[in-house]
């Protein structure tokens, strides 16, 4: 036989392939027998033996497997392949082929890829049962893991991890770790899958696996994202902390992830969001976009206060999630659509949830099973939110071809949607359903009518009449259901309906369904006082038929008798006794019990207990009406779209959706950490990388905004509006580039600045951006500093304060440097605002490429102002200007060139001239110093050598000198920067400027306004701080304003030109606030200017440094008075 088989195989493989189907059938007996023998294997987790065992009764022909074995061991590849195909056929049929294991495993290293794959299939299926033999194959996989072909590496890992053999756990662990770092994203994806497999094989590896998950979560490939989140969900769903850093990345990648991954990621993010954000559903909260955008406006301010404020402001990350999932509603994958829908249901503000409706209704066009699940979810949703689905009511009309459970669900939804306005339409529709041939469905409809009747009082009577009509229906179930529903309805309002009860009593003889009969009897008893004549008659009839009734009816007869006895004992005493006697000897013990109980209760006798007195109150107590409510009422405790929701029981592995936290957890955890440079100014590649993702974050947001805009304007004109905005942004892009160029040009022109300072400003700039993104971020030391600054204590950190700066001083500079065409530049700048994407990008280029030739001043300011304003402008889109207007002024560089002072005239300096100005930059050398830039020019005809700073006066003057300039050629000039600690006084710093041959005494006298550093704070903070600085610390005066200075823009310009302070955005139009702190001691300086009529204003300065205050007041007064 064997040889025969081999022969056949050898000759005619192709033919046998054609007939495989038949040959499998033949083999049924043999394989089944083997299986029966191996039934005890621990693999079969289900109960009982496989169905195949039944075949064991038939012939036991092992030889066919023998023949396969021989084919496998032959050296002809085609034979082996043929054999493997047949083996796979056996596996597919659920037949046991485990005894072929040794023969199959030998082929694991075969070159033929199809054969190899089939061997893999076999291995995965049987390795668990034949662990020792399976180990033989391991080395092959280990080798394959090093294969240059990524596909082979991946499939080796797949199989290796699918072999459920505990011994190889360490090998698997190693393989997973290695593959997780593989070059190919496909292999990394496979390793993410392998994590789950290893975890289910050996849960002890959890810790190590979490490490791998953590690593893979950082992966930027969309291919990996879905799989690793799946692994996360399986292995450590509670380690929410691993998600923080990847949250934004996942949100942004989401659209590009493959569809299955999307489902998993969305459901994970839903859970995540519920733990991390505060509820958008708070009562009285405002959800309009204004508010949300106002958030961006305040980016440079303290946000926490706003969070605590009464109006709800959505966390930008929360918004990010909602925005990035929205396009997925258009997915062709129903599971994706459903998961987005549930995400919106659980996370979005109430008014936004409605956008999912259309998509859900669309899913109803899909397969029956999809409809079933979607309808279930809609049913739950429609209980809470009728309005969502009401416009689509007609989509839930039942068709005769729907399957029963779909019909019932649609009915459920229609009932949920019923309200005063649409009830007549719905009832008309229900009338058709009641006549349905599907009687179960008709009965369900009657119940639905009952529910509508109780919920909507206007139609109760109509419904009741309709139901009464149904009582004469020919169909039993319909009648019975009607009676039951009528009973419930009457119970809710029994007063006016004695007619109906009478009608039902008349129909009683024709009704045979026990439940219906029982219901009528109960009604009679309960309202016997309303039908005093009929009730005893019904009881009389019942006494006659008592023995023939169903149990449930008998119980009600006893009840009726008891109630009538209590109310009308004269007529019914005998009847009652008769019935009680019948009941006493009934077969059913329930009835016997009931009878005895009733007898003791109502019939007075010596023995009867204390209860007798209360019989009436017990039996005729008013009973609460039953509540007719949806079967889906309690389903909302489960997350929508889950298996648990579908089953209405908790499925194993269900992850509870947590309630919103009362207070939002720290948002900064989602900021992606950047390795802190050793020195602040050292440029880091890591930062640039990081910025990339940030950039995406913003650009997406921007695009979304556009989208939303078009949405709100209605789908009709959306195309036009969005396209116009597109074109608009393009032009902006150009102009922004241009302006970028000018600013960088200007940077180059102001030569001679040290590289340190430029990179310093670089890092500040980066930081600035980061703070902007998440102002609450505390992970960085510098940022932390700035926090402490704002609280009024701690040293002034120059970097931090600049990062918090609204960049007024630097603004001035750039204007200065970039020639006198400032109006044009300004205009460009304001254009830049609207396109944050572009801005960020260009900034990146700046920081990466132009490091060397940048003077500090221009670099910082251009991007700074743009970043700040970008959010502003987006805020302004379609909004009223009212609440943001003061903030705009910060960003428009509207004040004139910074004053330059003469330090040394070239006449006195023998050809050396020096001019200085205050760049309003934080000083690099010491935080307490004021930065001064000195421009040294040689106007003599010979070169000057060894320019340096000599003695100083007073000697204690803390001064940071510039490095000695070895040589200054004629007509050349050099800019140097120095730092001077003025100790918060306007006392001049005297020192000697020396050349090789001469010494010149010079002095720098600062204007009081230069001794400040601007800070940013919220309005609330401002007023809080101001409250602390009253009395002696307050200096105020009513000043006259030049008419030209009454606009808020002009005011800012004037104030900022005098003092290096920051603008505090204000909600009041007539009050302008500025905040700063003194450079040296860090004392807070708060300036507020309250506009009065007729161009006068109240200028108030609050600071501990009262001397400075009065000087500042004087300067400001002067500045504001002049046009």
């Amino acid at each position: 036989m064997n040889s025969l088989q081999v022969e056949r195989g050898a000759e005619d493989v192709y033919l046998s392939r054609m007939s495989t189907g038949a040959s499998y059938n033949d083999q049924g007996g043999a394989e089944a027998a083997v299986e029966a023998g191996q039934e005890s294997t621990p693999t079969s987790s289900g109960a009982g033996a496989g169905a195949g065992a039944a075949f064991g009764l038939f012939s036991t022909d092992f030889k066919k497997n023998e023949d396969l074995k021989e084919m496998l061991e032959s050296n002809k590849e085609s034979l082996k392949l043929e054999a493997m195909k047949r083996v796979v056929g056996l596996i597919a049929k659920g037949k046991n082929a485990s005894e072929l294991f040794p023969a199959v495993v030998k082929n694991v290293a075969n070159k033929n890829i199809e054969l190899k794959k089939l061997v893999y299939v076999y291995l995965v299926r049987y390795a668990e049962e034949q662990q020792d033999l399976a180990l033989l194959s391991i080395s092959t996989f280990q080798r394959a893991l090093k294969d240059p072909n990524q596909f082979i590496r991946a499939s080796a890992l797949r199989v290796l991890s699918s072999i459920r053999v505990p011994i190889i756990v360490p090998i698997m662990m190693l393989a997973i770790k290695e593959s997780a770092a593989d070059m190919s994203p496909y292999v990394r994806k496979t390793s993410a899958h392998a994590i789950q497999k290893l975890y289910s094989l050996d849960p002890d590896q959890k810790e190590q696996l979490i490490e791998v998950i953590e690593k893979l979560l950082k992966d930027k490939s969309t291919l990996v994202a879905g799989s690793v989140v799946m692994a996360f969900e399986e292995v450590c769903p509670d380690r929410i902390d691993l998600i923080h850093k990847n949250y934004r990345k996942l949100c942004n990648l989401l659209v590009d992830v493959e569809e299955w991954g999307q489902v998993v990621i969305i459901s994970m993010l839903t859970r995540y969001a519920r733990t991390q954000f505060i509820s958008p559903w708070k009562e009285g909260a405002m959800f309009d976009e204004n508010n949300e955008k106002a958030f961006y406006d305040s980016d440079s301010e303290e946000k926490k206060d706003q969070m605590e404020a009464k109006t709800y402001i959505m966390d930008p990350d929360h918004r990010l999630l909602l925005r990035n999932t929205k396009p997925l509603l258009q997915s062709r994958n129903t599971a994706v659509v459903m998961s987005v829908a549930q995400l919106y249901w659980h996370l979005a503000p109430k008014h936004e949830v409605t956008i999912v409706t259309k998509s859900l209704v669309r899913l109803l066009r899909s397969h029956r099973e999809v409809q079933y699940i979607v309808l279930q979810n809609i049913a739950t949703m429609s209980i809470q939110r009728k309005g969502m689905f009401e416009p689509f009511m007609k989509s839930f009309y039942v068709r005769s071809t729907d399957s029963t459970h779909i019909k019932t669900l649609k009915l459920e939804i229609l009932t949920n949607l019923a309200n005063e306005a649409n009830i007549s339409t719905i009832l008309r529709e229900f009338q058709t359903y009641v006549k349905s041939q599907d009687k179960a469905f008709a009965a369900a409809t009657i119940q639905a009518i009952g529910r509508c009747a109780t919920n909507i009082s206007e139609v109760t009577d109509t419904c009741l009449n309709g139901l009464v009509l149904l009582l004469s229906n020919r169909d039993e179930t319909v009648v019975a259901e009607s009676v039951v529903v009528i009973k419930k309805l009457l119970q809710t309002q029994p007063t006016q309906h004695s007619e109906i009860i009478k009608h039902m009593a008349k129909l009683f003889d024709n009704i045979t369904v026990p439940m219906a009969r029982a219901s009528i009897l109960w009604l009679m008893g309960e309202y016997c006082e309303r039908v005093p004549k009929i009730a005893p008659d019904v009881l009389r009839k019942m006494a006659k038929t008592f023995t023939a009734e169903e149990d449930i009816v008998k119980l009600q007869i006893v009840n009726l008798a008891a109630k009538l006895y209590l109310t009308n004992s004269k007529q019914t005493k005998l009847l009652t006794q008769y019935i009680l006697n019948l009941g006493k000897y009934d077969q059913n013990y329930d009835i016997r019990d009931r009878t005895r109980f009733i007898r003791q209760l109502i019939v007075p006798s010596e023995k009867s207990g204390a209860l007798n007195k209360y019989a009436r109150r017990i039996l005729l107590a008013p009973k609460p009406a039953p509540v007719l409510e949806s079967a889906f009422k309690d389903r909302d405790r489960y997350q929508l779209g889950t298996l648990s929701h579908s089953l209405n029981t908790k499925a194993s592995g269900y992850q509870e959706l947590s309630d919103w936290p009362a207070v939002a957890p720290d948002q900064s955890v989602r900021n992606v950490e950047v390795i802190e440079p050793v020195k602040e100014w050292a440029p880091l590649v890591g930062k640039a990388k990081q910025r990339k993702s940030d950039e995406k974050f913003y650009s997406d947001e921007e695009e979304e905004k556009e989208e939303e805009g078009s949405d709100s304007s209605g789908s009709e004109d959306s195309s036009s509006s969005s396209s116009s905005s597109e074109s608009g942004s393009e032009s902006e892009e150009e102009s922004s580039e241009e302006s970028e160029k000018t600013s960088s040009d200007s940077g180059k022109s102001s030569s001679g600045s040290e590289q340190e300072s430029s990179s310093e400003s670089e890092s500040q700039q980066k930081k600035k951006k980061k703070t902007k993104k998440a102002p609450q971020k505390k992970s960085k030391p510098a940022a932390a500093d700035s926090d402490s600054d704002e609280n009024g204590n701690g040293p002034v950190a120059p970097a931090s304060s600049s990062s918090a700066d609204s960049s007024s001083a630097s603004e001035t500079d750039s204007e200065d440097d970039s020639d006198s065409d400032s109006p044009a530049v300004q205009k460009k700048k304001s254009d830049v605002k609207s396109k944050p994407k572009v801005e960020v990008k260009s900034k990146k280029e700046v920081s990466l490429l132009d490091l060397d030739d940048f003077s500090p001043a221009p670099t910082t300011k251009a991007p700074k102002s743009a970043v700040l304003s970008s959010s502003l402008l987006s805020d302004l889109e379609g909004l009223s200007l009212s609440n943001v207007s003061p903030a705009i002024q910060v960003t428009t560089p509207s004040f004139g060139p910074v004053k330059t002072y003469e330090l040394l005239h070239h006449m006195t300096g023998k050809g050396l001239s020096a001019k200085y100005h205050f760049p309003r930059q934080p000083c690099l050398y010491q935080p307490s110093m004021v930065a001064v830039q000195v421009v040294l020019t040689n106007s003599s005809d010979h070169s000057l050598e060894e320019i340096h700073i000599g003695d100083r006066n007073p000697a204690s003057l803390n001064l940071h000198c510039f490095n000695t300039i070895e040589r200054l050629e004629p007509e050349a000039s050099v800019t140097v920067s120095m730092g001077i600690d003025f100790s918060d006084s306007t006392q001049a710093a005297n020192f000697q400027l020396c050349t090789k041959d001469d010494q010149f005494s010079v002095s720098i006298q600062p204007a009081v306004g230069e001794l400040f550093m601007p800070i940013t704070m919220t309005e609330q903070d401002f007023s809080k701080e101001q409250g602390k600085l009253l009395g002696m610390n307050e200096t105020s005066e009513t000043i006259a304003m030049a008419t030209a200075n009454t606009s808020s823009q002009a005011i800012s310009k004037q104030v900022l030109s005098v003092a290096n302070v920051g603008v505090v955005s204000s909600t009041q139009n007539n009050i302008h606030r500025f905040a700063g702190r003194t450079v040296s001691s860090g004392a807070l300086v708060l300036v507020s200017l309250e506009m009065k009529e007729s161009s006068s204003a109240l200028l108030t300065i609050n600071t501990e440094k009262s001397v400075m205050a009065s000087m500042l007041l004087r300067d400001l007064k002067q500045a504001l008075a002049q046009a």
Partner: protein, 418 residues
């Protein structure tokens, strides 16, 4: 996620099983059979069935139940959608998805299932990727393989897996470059007794068959895109572009795919292409019923209504029907009480009608409800919503493709209550 898959045929036999994790005994299907028994109709089997240790999620397609075994919480739609995708793939590979086809190609089926899921999580479901991994069996290829010893299984990672356009394989070559688009619209409607429309809506799809060389980038624009109310796209369509310009811009997959499905906004009145005059009555006390049905074209914009098929589930009390069609043929199945009338094309000059009597069970009372009439029809060269493709452009490749667009209107769930 998905633990195991069982394929059950109409007679309740498990003819294929596949396990992705530890083997689950097929006895778990007993719970399914129980539910199947309880359900009167095959469609009434609940899609989700809980058992003590597992959950069974099933879909019914082509009279085969695909029963997935789940062990823990997973979105049920995830599984359902995947199972449907499996069926679609089988159909794509074997032409039909029948028990016989699956049994004949059991090895390919197994290879496919192996690639589609890894450890129960979907791995490759995109048809273009799968076809690179496992070539669809054709007789010719089977022959060649037997002779040359080559295989159906690809050795390289499919190009799509790593690319940004995973749905398209690279290196596609055709001598005739063609792109065909079928705009197919279906009317879902319920018409009440008096002939007025209770609800009507239009659902449309654009199915494409694209056979173009290289990496073409197509844009398809409509004359009246505002008709489209709610759309869902193939992943290849650039969503942003649609949002902004209402243009479909995409790099198509190779071969057949569904580009778009849409819903026409409910504001637009739906033209109902046919009307039905009916008179179906049962007289009390007599064992006879009258059946009289006439069809006529209504709003067809001058196009012929073709392939009309009328079906109706007559009440249980009907024993037989003795009818006389003016055209076409009718059948009545006395067991299922299903009446079908294959009308064919409606001739507006001579309206098709079906008249005659029904005999009822003696003594049975008159049925409460008249049967519902389901109508299927086709109208060629017209999209009932009026949707029109404006133009199709190709970028990125040099050759000139042959482009074709076809319109068709069909009746979807078109019911007339009587």
């Amino acid at each position: 996620m998905i633990h195991s898959l069982f394929l059950v045929n109409a007679s309740g036999d498990i003819f294929l099983e596949k396990h992705w994790k530890s083997v689950v005994s097929r006895s778990v299907c007993d719970y399914f059979f129980e539910a199947q028994e309880r359900a009167t109709e095959p469609e009434n089997v609940p899609p989700v069935i809980p058992t003590p240790h597992h959950y069974l999620i099933s879909v019914l397609r082509h009279r085969i139940y695909f029963v997935a075994v789940i062990q823990s919480e997973v979105p049920p739609l995830f599984v359902i959608e995947f199972l449907h995708r499996v069926v679609d793939t089988f159909q794509d590979y074997f032409g039909v998805c029948t028990e016989a086809a699956i049994k004949d190609n059991v090895v390919v089926v197994y290879e496919l299932l192996e690639e589609m899921l890894d450890n129960g999580f979907p791995l490759a479901t995109e048809s273009n990727i799968l076809k690179e991994l496992i070539k669809p069996p054709t007789i010719l290829r089977t022959m060649v393989n037997t002779i040359t010893g080559s295989t159906n299984v690809g050795e390289q990672l499919p190009t799509g897996q790593l690319s940004v356009v995973p749905w398209r394989r690279t290196g596609v070559k055709y001598t005739n470059n063609e792109a065909y688009f079928d705009v197919v619209e279906e009317i879902d409607a319920i018409i009440d007794k008096s002939g007025s429309t209770i609800t009507a809506e239009i659902q449309g799809v654009i199915d494409a068959c694209v056979k173009l060389t290289g990496m073409p980038d197509l844009t398809l624009s409509f004359m009246n895109p505002r008709l489209l109310d709610d759309v869902s796209f193939h992943p290849c369509v650039r969503f942003k572009r649609w949002e902004a310009e209402r243009i479909l811009s995409f790099i198509p997959p190779d071969g057949n795919f569904r580009l778009l499905s849409y819903h026409v906004s409910s504001q637009n009145l739906v033209a109902i292409p046919v009307y039905v005059k009916h008179n179906i009555s049962f007289r009390e006390g007599s064992s006879q019923g009258r059946f009289d049905l006439t069809l006529g074209p209504k709003q067809t914009m001058g196009k012929a209504v073709e392939s009309v098929l009328v079906s109706s589930q007559l009440p249980r009390g009907v024993l037989n029907a003795n009818l006389n069609p003016s055209q076409g043929t009718y059948t009545f199945d006395p067991v299922t009480k299903m009446l079908t009338w294959d009308v064919g094309k409606i001739n507006p000059q001579k309206l098709p009608s079906l008249k005659g009597t029904m005999s009822l069970q003696a003594g049975a009372s008159k049925p409460d409800e008249n049967p519902t009439i389901n109508i299927q029809l086709k109208i060629q060269q017209m999209a009932i919503s009026g949707l029109k493709v404006n133009r199709l452009d190709m970028y990125g490749e040099k050759y000139k493709p042959f482009k074709g667009i076809k319109y068709m209107t069909k009746a979807g769930k078109f019911q007339v209550r009587t």
